[in-house]
Amino acid sequence: MKIDVQALSARVHRTPLLTDVSLHIESGELFGLVGPNGSGKSTLMRCLAGLRRPILGRVIADDTDLGQMPARLRACRIAFVEQQADTTDRLTVREAVELGRTPYLSPLRRWGADDQAAVENALSSVEMDAFADRLWHTLSGGERQRVHIARALAQAPDLLLLDEPTNHLDIRHQLSLMALVRDLPLTRVIALHDLNQAMTCDRVGVLHKGRLIAAGPPANVLHEDLLARVFGVAAKSATAPDGAPRLHFSHAL
């Protein structure tokens, strides 16, 4: 699914959260969204998910205005993994993933074989088959994040939105989650804190105080000048032993 964000603005009362954001995301692309805390990443993700109505501008998903799309149809095409989504309910991993089929079911349409297949596939693509009958509250943070992604995949979306999915995960879980996301064959937009993880995206966009100030291939966008200006850090780009570009941060400015 290709996404066209046209002159998008969002605000609460008179405080602008996003100002005049325009952005194009290609079909099948892994698009990283970076920016300091409070720069509007989550707000933009919520607009892309259709959860927040922009005050100006539009989001066009494959030629359809998101604001005009019925909620249920939207949920069949766009899946969203929120920054924080937890529950105190005692439900199993499988039940959590089954929620992803909600937009395909109706009070009269029963759970079918295709729903079951979608759930099983989603569970195995995040390698959580063995956890299917575990209760939610017994899972670690990384496992919960995987289940959230499985739930999103069970929606069989064309666009997957992930809001800082690697937060609070240890390094192994961060890397395996990024590897998982990189291999998914669909359009993905991922908000990230770790700029070196952002370096592995196809393209990145930089949000600063609610404005999109740069977008493009990570090596071109995340240069020393911008990192100093937006993130307030002194950084050097270097080539890692594996040949990929890596950012090295020395101190806060």
Binding site: R72, C76, E82, L91, T102, P107, L135, Q155
Partner: protein, 353 residues
Amino acid sequence: MKMAAAPVRLVAGRGLWLSPLLLAAAIMAGTAIGETRLPFLTVLQTLANHLWGAGYPVDGIEAGIIWSYRLPRAIIAACSGAGLALTGVVLQALLRNPLADPYLMGLSAGASTGAVLVTVAGVGGGAISMSLGALTGALLAFGCVVALAHAVNGAAGGGRATQAAAAIILAGIAGSQMFNALTAFTIARSANAEQARGIMFWLMGNLSGVRWEDVWACAGVSLAGVALCLWYRRGLDAFTFGADGAASLGINVQALRGSLITATAIMVGVLVSKVGAIGFVGLVVPHAMRFLVGTRHDRLVPASALAGAVFLVAADVISRILVPGQVLPIGVVTALVGAPAFALILVRGGARR
């Protein structure tokens, strides 16, 4: 304990088809047991006589007790228990708050105020029945709570649906306090000791004096409530990870929340207007049922409705036989059982975290 949960769930899930039988048995027991214990056979014969004119020879007084007094009472207890438990399920799911229950929304406070204004302060000059007063009060209070929650949300800048849930709970507490104060004020101003005692009784739940006319209203709203909740079971499930989670699963959060909460408010309003304010059923039964059948609403809704019904029929029987020669307010019994049960749930819930 974690290990034990799964088989219990399985058994409870499979046993669901038994529920109409269980409910019928509870109503039979509620009809047979009382100050004068009547044989089950007499109960069945009386039912057969009334339902299809079977013509069994049954003592007239006993038949009168069964048909005009105990049976409608047991049925209304069942309907009220089901309705209150169902409202707890809906509110706890939609507001994502384990403490949400029917009375949090100001319903019981408003019903009390309405009833007191009609009976004690003489509002309506006798043209309005206490039930109608209570129903009006309940819905008025509910309207105030919702309006207040909207105002709070508006001032906070709309924002996320999760905040809206917090706002409505705070608004519910404010509204309940306000209407309770109005009730206390009216009683203090106008009631004599006799009236005050009667009102106290009613406020704790009172099933005496219910008639067949009341049965139709109560059965109608609670059956409609069960049907509505089953129809929207997947929508209720979708709130597991919060309102935003539901929205991203394609649920129209505001519409679903608005219509289900309003529908359950009307249901509780009708029930409270007939039987008074019975506490703890709406709070405890849904939690207990989540332990037994899990959190999926296709099972939780029927299980809670059934358990609430059976629980309240049992509580009514206990309220009639616990102190010989005296009928306790049913709310006393539900609180005496419900409060420790709730404490147990809290402790067990705490232990597993």
